[in-house]
Amino acid sequence: MQLRGMKKQSNEMKINRFSNTLISYKKNSLFFLMLLPAIIYFVIFHYLPMYGVTIAFKDYYILKGILGSKWVGFKHFEDVFSGLFFWPVFKNTLIISFYKLMLGFFAPIVLAIMLNEVSHNKYKKVVQSITYLPHFMSWVVLSGLLIEILSPSRGPVNILLQGIGLEPIYFIAEKSWFRSILVGSSIWKEAGWSSIIYLAAISGIDPQMYEVAELDGASRMRKIWNITIPSIMPVIIIMFIFATGKIIQDDFEQVYNLLNPAVMEVGDVISTYTYREGLERMNYSYAAAVGLFKNVISFALVMGTNYIARRTSDYALW
């Protein structure tokens, strides 16, 4: 009897809570209506494609649609992992992303620290304006520029090489150079821009710390090493968590615009591979399986590094 009474009570509470929610939505209906278009947008264009991922477990047949196509379990994943073509692409992605992470991550930090050491304000501003510039250009424009300056006959790089007595190199079509070009050009595009965050962090450091260090006779290198870097460590850690999530999110626009038949072997990455398999050869289900694999890994990487960061330090995304 008592039990039943408690159950009834808890049911009543549930109903109460539900009606309370309804009331609070009604009271703030205008707020909710303002939000509604955005919710609809995210449902249609972000959550519906997540449902569309199911085609990775189906034999997608255009005429039958996503719902009507037959379930085939992990067949496409088996094809992906047992196929000859996927693993070299996966390896390329990891190698290129690893170097981008290692070098591309530290370049803006170094740049920010150098900029901070400039006491001449105008010089600092000019350097910033110039190094930000490539960030605003599309990879189409930048690839066009890159191919031009790396050209064997007109490019300043090759003219410099010949100037010191070396043979000109056709960089863009050279297997041994292609990955370096990808890594280098992504640093070239974003280093200046990414340094903003670190500059902002540096500007928040208490100047008294530097003054005290000066009284102790610390050199400039010493101050950078013992004050600047430790002070911006929280920002560095948070940015690193972001960056690790990208380790498998290869930069499609960059790679696709620079990729050419001569360097396919070393430059083809997961996203360019997905594009070719899916949209050029129309192996929808197979490509969706590759894409899902990529997204799951990237999601796990962000979650994992965030977890580690939270455990080992006080700084994490959430």
């Binding site: 955005a38 010089y123 696709y256």
Partner: protein
């Protein structure tokens, strides 16, 4: 001013010259592109550096001006940028405001609902099939709708709204104004910096976008500028229509490629001072608050 030690001067010299080198590396490709676009073909094919134009020739630009496809694409890009940016900014502001308010029921849930899309997505193929199923292929809607709101920008805008003191709105509410009116009359006018920022973010994004055009648009008349630029600069193609008109194979010279590149980039360069200012502001606003 305190007197610098020898060590300090040495240190300064290294830093200043390293930064100078960074600038040089960044700017040289742009210089080369402009110079080649202005040089006659004979000069371009000569061996040597092409950083400062030695003789002028506007043939490259003449070819660009006569190239119909570029102007059609220019028009499409402008329409796309204006339309896409307007929709994106309107919906972002409209959604960010309630998300910044404690009164919104299930606020944490709705925020998470949006943030989650930053970390997980269906991927390229399901997205393409969706656009196809919605019947958007080969239309301007395919360029504007699928990536209308950026979750990141929405969160940045919300963070900005959160810093506006509550008391500003309360007095208006006492006077009987509703939330939409408050947003329009009070919040938007004092939020001009963030609105300028996100307008530029969305605008630049739309201007530079080409991939969606490549996969969703089949009709030449609807191509956007960056995609046509890609065809000319990276694939070396000329439009079929032009070949049909002149009836000769037009050789795509480097001069013309670089001229196209300059023409497509010019609008960005023109608004660059504003871009830089507001982009930096936006990055600061978005990043330093949780």
């Amino acid at each position: 001013m305190k007197i610098k030690s020898k060590q300090d001067i040495f240190f300064d010299c290294i830093i200043y010259s390293l930064l100078f080198l960074c600038c040089l590396i960044t700017i040289v490709p742009f210089l080369q592109a402009v110079t080649i676009s202005l040089s006659p073909a004979s000069e371009v094919n000569k061996y040597g550096l092409h950083l400062i134009p030695t003789s002028f020739n506007l043939e490259g630009y003449q070819k660009v001006i006569q190239h119909d496809q570029i102007w059609i694409a220019y028009k499409n890009t402008i329409i796309r940028t204006v339309l896409g940016t307007f929709l994106a900014v309107a919906l972002t502001v409209l959604a960010a405001y309630p998300l910044a308010k404690k009164d919104l029921p299930h606020r944490t849930f709705w925020t998470g609902f949006i943030v989650f899309t930053m970390y997980f997505s269906g991927g390229l193929i399901p997205r393409y099939l969706l656009v196809n199923n919605l019947g958007l292929l080969n239309s301007m809607s395919a360029l504007v709708l699928p990536s209308m709101i950026s979750a990141f920008t929405l969160i940045v805008t919300r963070n900005f709204f959160m810093t506006i003191p509550e008391s500003l709105e309360e007095s208006a509410r006492i006077d009987g104004a509703n939330d939409l009116y408050i947003l329009y009359k009070i919040i938007i006018p004092i939020s001009k910096p963030i609105i300028a920022t996100i307008t530029l973010w969305y605008g630049v994004w739309h201007w530079n976008q080409w991939f969606d055009c490549m996969i969703y648009i089949m009709d030449k008349e609807k191509f956007v500028l960056q995609y046509v630029l890609r065809q000319i600069v990276l694939e070396g193609q000329m439009s079929d229509s032009e070949m049909a008109i002149t009836d000769v194979m037009v050789v795509n010279t480097e001069t013309m490629k670089m001229a196209t590149l300059v023409v497509a980039t010019l609008p960005i360069i023109c608004v660059y001072p504003f871009l830089q200012k507001y982009f930096v502001k936006g990055v600061m606003m978005g990043s330093l608050k949780g």
